[in-house]
């Protein structure tokens, strides 16, 4: 349960994170809460060459709520959404689902977008996102686009071997 050696990049600007992602490609993994990635590193199930920590990127920790939509930044912890004012009235399904995710300790660290990006088929947040016909904003160095949850998630479902099963 000790990770293989990897480089660690704590990105200060989003462009920096995107540059490293572009250079390292599939060998890079994004760290955003680490409730799945860190155990996978420790079990050597994930062996990235570089881990890019995005938790200090400016602006990614914001939650924006308007007219029946909620926009959650990539560095927003699950706990912050759970405690967001008026979540029950604005996003009742999300509010109902959040307490079922892991436990308080993992929600304190885990991010909403991290769970969506990991796309475990048994996880609550990807399911909620599909049920609500949500969208994911995806960025690379070249462009930014929006993908509907249903087409984002199936494509990125990890193979069964990616979990412990």
């Amino acid at each position: 349960m000790k990770p293989a050696a990897f480089d660690y990049v704590r990105a200060e600007r989003i462009e920096e994170a995107l540059d490293v992602l572009a250079q390292e490609g599939a060998d890079a993994r994004v760290l955003a809460g680490g409730q799945t990635l860190i155990p996978m590193l420790s079990m050597r199930m994930a062996r990235p060459s570089v881990v890019i920590d995005i938790m200090r990127l400016p602006g990614l920790d914001r939650i924006e709520c308007a007219e029946g939509t909620i926009r959650v930044g990539a560095a927003v912890r699950q706990r912050h959404v759970e405690q967001y004012a008026n979540l029950v009235s604005s996003q009742p399904l999300l509010a109902a689902a959040l307490p079922w995710i892991g436990h308080a300790q993992t929600r304190n660290r885990g991010t909403v977008c991290g769970s969506v990006a990991h796309a475990d088929p048994s996880a609550e947040l990807p399911l909620v996102l599909i049920a609500l016909k949500g969208e994911i904003e995806v960025r690379s160095r070249r462009r930014s686009r929006r993908v509907v949850a249903e087409s984002f998630l199936p494509a990125s479902c990890p193979p069964i071997a990616g979990s412990t099963r």
Binding site: M1, K2, A4, A5, M43, R44, P121, C157, T164, R165
Partner: protein, 821 residues
């Protein structure tokens, strides 16, 4: 709650410290993070750390291992494979007469996922794991077998080609005249049960620090081993040293064990050899993945059990066919799980005719070993399911079937058909007390009301005896009487305790009970305080073991719920011996007769004239400062060690009667469950558990044992299974896959007590640590069967399983789904 019980203890006439729920001495350190667990203890400078390469295959030949890159990697001191280990060791001894070898590391072949294949010793664990990655192993996969029934067939893949079958032990037993009882029976009732694999998963995993002294050719090992210390000779033999050249020590604290830390012993061999090869001490801390995958498991068992039943629901005879799955190797003390319950296989019932066929089979799974309840859940699940089936099939109230079959109080002590001597108890009175004080009538009313609303609500029962203080000879029932005669008798269970007085006249107690959080030190202080007229705080208790310095024997350790009945009682005997000698010294000093001496409130006084007294500490110190003043025939008054083995623990007879345990507590449980009609989730509405564990030494700790066992049993009933795929791959490598109930899932049971002191133990106490692991899984299963009118149910009763009962099997999955396209 604690205060109530303290009052109750006083009402019951407890005048001393024993019987009161005093605060535990252990807790101040444990609750503030100051426990001294193995990984907290310092190591010598230069100590290496080890990591283990484990098999990814359930069954494969090892064609080649290339360790060259690992050997030259940064920080690596040594790499060991099976060939290196067998060069310095012998096979671990095996408990059946078969040409089986049992190595702690794979030799030429792997037989379960997680089996050690190589060990890397390096300057730290990171480098050791990095080097593990560099080892190239070429495997030739073989067909695996995980199902015990399939493994027992002639065309199964063979695990150990040296023997021609995976069935490595088979014995049949016959008591009374079962054939006639079945021929004359009004009814026959049968259950078929598959008891699953599970484990008690202590929060602290295995840990070892091993050293080799080349000058002495001796090993010194510190390990969070829990006993039994019968494994000390097993390890010494494997390391090819005399027993006096294996010093085995345990740390002051151990983070839970529940039997599981018995099975650390193969790793003790591995790390001892690693230290020898590396030339420096080696430390190894097992990680959680290793622990779940490859430490140890309880056995899974396939049982067919049939009863001959008369018109009134009396069970006249039982016919057992037990197929025990011990995993890939038969590790000591297996097949003990199968035989631990042999004497009390008829449970709490008076059944005189019994037939048993026992088979032990090996499969491509982790080897098995001790686990809380050890053999109890596997044996009582079929028995208590059978009792419920008798009630259903004969249309009796299940409670009446239990009542009609209980061993009557007038028969105590009662010799069972298979040889156990049930020591004491009034089972019927305990049952009626539970029915009354546990509110069974109210629970039945809840069932009726729930069912009237269309809900799935059921009530289950279980009545069992809880054995404690194992007879070290019971395991030889795996051998035939002829084989036993050749091997020589094995019996008994030596407990040890040492009470010593230092030059300031204070008292230290040392025992070899290796506690893992239970509170042994507190209870021993109470026991000794009572014996010597002191306060518990005055008594220092040392419970870590050093085989080079302490009194110990093969029965030492923490298992078979032996602390209260055996260890605490032995400590009392040692204190009383010392007290009687001190009384003679005091009699001289106070000029009265020894019979007139009393020990009370920290003083030693003449009963007839309490003013004629001296401080206990002065008397206790006199053996150091003025030995010349002691009566010449008295001997020393400094240190007293008592070895105690109960005479009732005799060797198995030629008729295979086995008194497998010294004490037999009684448990009667009932519960109500409601099943969610959509999801199949079980909600435990109420759980009542009545215990008679003899004299209660510390009521709060007894409740703690009961609640802890209950929580683990709830896990076994509803959540936990060490599941394997058909190809032998392990499916439960994390706690996300192996679900352990948390505080949120465990309701508080209603705990009731009776106290029928054991006539066989010094304090009248019986064991209480394992009972609910034996009674609760089947009690919950009986309730679920009642709720859903199921004829058969296997654990764990997961929502998916119960939903299939409720809704029928799920429709086949659409194959055109885009998801994985």
């Amino acid at each position: 709650m604690t205060a109530d019980r303290e009052d109750a203890a006083i009402r019951h006439g407890a005048t001393g410290w024993v019987g009161r729920s005093i605060l535990r001495f252990e807790d101040a350190a444990l609750l503030t993070g100051r426990g001294r667990y193995l990984d907290d203890l310092g190591t010598l400078p230069g100590t290496f750390e080890a990591a283990i390469l484990r098999s990814p295959h359930a069954h494969a030949e090892i064609e080649a291992i290339d360790c060259e890159a690992a050997r030259t990697a940064d920080g690596v001191a040594a790499v060991l494979t099976g060939a290196d280990v067998i060069a310095l060791t012998s096979s671990l001894v095996v408990g059946v007469k078969a040409p089986l070898e049992c190595w702690p590391i794979a030799v030429d072949r792997v037989r379960y996922v997680g089996e050690p294949v190589a060990i890397v010793v390096a300057s730290d664990r990171y480098r050791a794991e990095d080097a593990i990655d560099l080892i190239e192993v070429r495997y030739r996969p073989l067909p695996a077998v995980v199902d015990p029934a399939a493994a027992a067939t002639v065309d199964s893949p063979l695990l150990h080609p040296a023997i021609n079958s995976n069935v490595v032990g088979e014995r049949t037993f016959r008591y009374g005249d079962p054939e006639r009882a079945f021929a004359e029976a009004a009814h026959r009732v049968r259950v078929d049960v598959r008891y699953p694999r599970n484990s008690c998963t202590p929060i602290e995993t295995y840990g070892i620090i091993a050293e080799y002294d080349a000058g002495e050719d001796a090993y010194d090992v510190l390990a969070n081993f829990q006993g039994p210390f019968s494994l000390h000779p097993v390890v010494a033999r494997a390391l090819k040293v005399p027993g006096n050249r294996l010093r085995l020590r345990t740390p002051p604290d151990s983070g839970g064990s529940f039997g599981v830390k018995q099975a650390i012993f193969p790793y003790i061999v591995l790390m001892a050899v690693a230290a020898r090869v590396a030339g420096r001490p080696v430390k190894w801390i097992e990680d959680r993945l290793e622990h779940l995958c490859a430490s140890v498991s309880a056995t899974n068992r396939v049982t067919m059990l049939e009863a001959a039943v008369d018109r009134d629901g009396r069970i006249m005879a039982l016919d057992f066919d037990q197929l025990e799955d011990c995993g890939a190797h038969l590790r000591a003390p297996e097949p003990a799980t199968l035989y631990r319950m042999h004497g009390n296989l008829t449970g709490a019932y008076d059944i005189r005719h019994v037939k048993i066929r026992n088979r032990v089979v090996l499969t491509n799974k982790t080897p098995t070993g001790l686990n809380r309840g050890f053999g109890g859940p596997q044996a009582y699940y079929p028995l208590e399911r059978l009792v419920q089936r008798i009630a259903v099939e004969l249309k009796f109230d299940p409670l009446d079937v239990i009542r009609r079959n209980l061993v009557p109080a007038s028969a105590m002590p009662y010799r069972t058909a298979t040889g156990a001597l049930l020591d004491s108890g009034d089972f019927a009175a305990a049952l009626e007390g539970a029915v009354r004080d546990g509110g069974l009538a109210d629970l039945m009313a809840r069932r009726n009301a729930a069912r009237a609303e269309g809900k799935h609500y059921g009530v289950g029962f279980a009545a069992i005896v809880e054995p404690s203080v194992s007879n070290m000879g019971y395991i030889t029932a795996a051998l035939t009487p002829e084989e036993r005669r050749r091997a020589g008798p094995k019996n008994g269970a030596q407990s040890t305790a040492t009470v010593s007085l230092d030059p300031l006249g204070t008292v230290t107690v040392q025992v070899a009970s290796t506690p893992q959080g239970q509170g042994h030190r507190t209870v021993l202080a109470q026991v000794i305080a009572d014996a010597l007229g002191l306060k518990p705080r005055d008594v220092r208790v040392v419970a870590d073991v050093d085989t080079a310095k302490d009194a110990w024997s093969i029965a030492s350790g923490n298992y078979s719920s032996r602390f209260a009945p055996a260890v605490a009682g032995t400590a009392r005997l040692a204190a009383l011996n010392l007290r009687d000698r001190l009384a003679r010294v005091a009699a001289t000093l106070l000029n009265v007769s020894p019979a007139d001496i009393v020990f009370t409130d920290g003083r030693v006084a003449a009963r007839s004239n309490p003013d004629n007294s001296l401080p206990f500490s002065r008397l206790a110190a006199s053996g150091h400062w003025a030995p010349g003043t002691l009566p010449a025939d008295l001997g020393q008054t400094i240190r007293e060690t008592v070895f105690w083995t109960p005479p009732q623990l005799t060797a198995p007879t030629d008729a295979d009667e086995v008194n497998s345990s010294l004490c037999h507590g009684f448990i009667f449980d009932f519960c109500g469950v409601e099943i969610d009609p959509t999801s199949g989730t079980v909600r435990l509405d109420r759980y009542v558990t009545m215990h008679d564990c003899g004299s209660i030494l510390h009521p709060a700790m007894v409740t703690g044992q009961i609640c802890g066992g209950f929580a683990q049993a709830l896990g076994a009933a509803l959540y936990e299974e060490y599941a394997y795929a058909d190809d032998g791959s392990f499916l439960c490598g994390t706690f996300a896959d192996y679900l352990v109930p948390t505080a949120m899932e465990v309701p508080e049971p209603i705990v009731l007590h009776r106290e029928s002191p054991s006539p066989f133990t010094p304090l009248g106490a019986k064991g209480v640590g394992e009972g609910n692991c034996m009674s609760t899984p089947v009690c919950i299963a009986n309730a679920i069967a009642d709720a859903l009118s199921l004829n058969a149910i296997d654990l764990p009763a997961t929502p998916a399983k119960l939903a299939a009962h409720l809704h029928g099997p799920e429709p086949a999955r659409a194959t055109t789904s885009r998801r994985y396209a």
